[in-house]
Point group: C2
Chain length 218, copies 2
DNA sequence: AAAAATATTTAGATTAGCCTAAAAATTAAA
DNA sequence: TTTAATTTTTAGGCTAATCTAAATATTTTT
């Protein structure tokens, strides 16, 4: 019933890589967790022996129901702590991720449920990502990646899915944040970059970056 | 500059066992941490190699200045989290210890300093133990063990130094808590137990228990 | 002060999590 | 469809933290 930080990290990584469905490969997990493929294979054997994921050698893995349940509870802990850090302790939203990576492994269920209550049952973390409730349910909004937003449609940034320091820094530079209103004005086919209008200014965004910005049409 | 949870636990244990001065033995540490003497010896070699404690084989160990500094920072984290759990998340003071044992190993200094600020720089945790400030200083009150309180002197319970679940349960039963006013009315020399008056009731307390209750004369 | 009891250390294993290098399987390219 | 490139797994090692059992010190008792 209790899992090591390492096991939890693997389950969470696979959960994020699955993103909806399909299977995940060894290298993808290794890259996400900054380990080597051989280490991943070791852990996959252990986790599948425990029934937390389905594993076919050379083919890939996907979470079992039990595995997804655990992954969701880790995601819940992570995002609640992020919310706490940003909204109560006044951390900058760029700093919260790495601290939450540690806090998320403190396993008391009662702690997390009481924290949730104390925070007023927030729906999303400071990055706009939805927070699973104590039963693992998430209220999913109609979010789409900015790459799929039609021209001249007014939309709001809901979520940043890729949270590398680089991207966060970049967003700050461009003054794009959760809640920012924008419209796509032009699409450059030669490099797939986008010209985006916010207030009266036009900024250019690479396809890479646009992929990790989830927006909602107003 | 960064220590494992295990190393931190050993340093904290030795800190508590030293309690003012003197050296600490292998078995005492083993008992406190629920490990075996051989494990303690192994760790003592490592910690003394790192300069965190003074170690003479067969004689004992005591913290170096650097070791004490680390121990104090762990104690600080522990007690701040206890305070947070009890005063913000409404945990019963008996429950906070074990959760804080996990939280205390999240190492971000900035996190702890911001938490301290958020909580309003509390002086003591829910057990009445003083919380070291960010420089490791503690404001020590004139606390004495109940065993040393004179007869018929009115005093207040300040602190419970031994926090086993058993003791905490026992205190709840006897309705003794931080802040409770009491007087020692009688001392039974044959078993060293004490008759203590709180409000109008007299309760009997073993010498064992009295040792771990720190009080302050009013 | 010798014997007995206790405390501490050493020797040798074990487990989890990770690694490198080599082997095997799969997929892509010629 | 054979060869080349890539991906994944296996084999064998390493470190931190733990353990048991045996050896060595120290302390206490007689």
């Amino acid at each position: 019933m209790n899992y090591s930080s390492s096991e939890e990290n693997y389950l969470k990584a696979i959960y994020h890589l699955q993103e909806g469905g399909g299977t995940v490969g060894t290298n993808a997990v290794a890259e996400k967790l900054n380990t080597k493929a051989a280490s991943v294979t070791d852990m996959m054997k252990k986790l599948s022996a425990k029934g937390l994921l389905h594993y076919t050698p050379y083919y890939g893995f996907s979470l079992s129901n039990e595995g997804r349940k655990i992954a969701l509870s880790v995601v819940r802990r992570h995002r609640l702590w992020e919310y706490f850090l940003a909204n109560r302790l006044q951390f900058d939203w760029k700093e919260v991720h790495s601290i939450a990576e540690e806090l998320e492994h403190v396993s008391s269920k009662k702690l997390i449920d009481k924290l949730d209550e104390y925070l007023g049952y927030p729906q999303t973390d400071p990055h706009g990502d939805p927070i699973p409730d104590s039963k693992g349910r998430m209220t999913q909004s109609g979010a789409i990646p900015l790459t799929e937003l039609g021209l001249n449609l007014s939309a709001t940034i809901l979520q940043v899915t890729n949270q590398s320091d680089e991207i966060l820094e970049h967003l700050k530079d461009k003054q794009l944040q959760i809640g920012t209103l924008l419209e796509v004005k032009k699409l450059h086919s030669f490099d797939r970059s986008l010209d985006v209008k916010r207030k009266n200014k036009i900024v250019t965004i690479t396809h890479e970056l646009a992929k990790s910005l989830l927006v909602k049409i107003n």
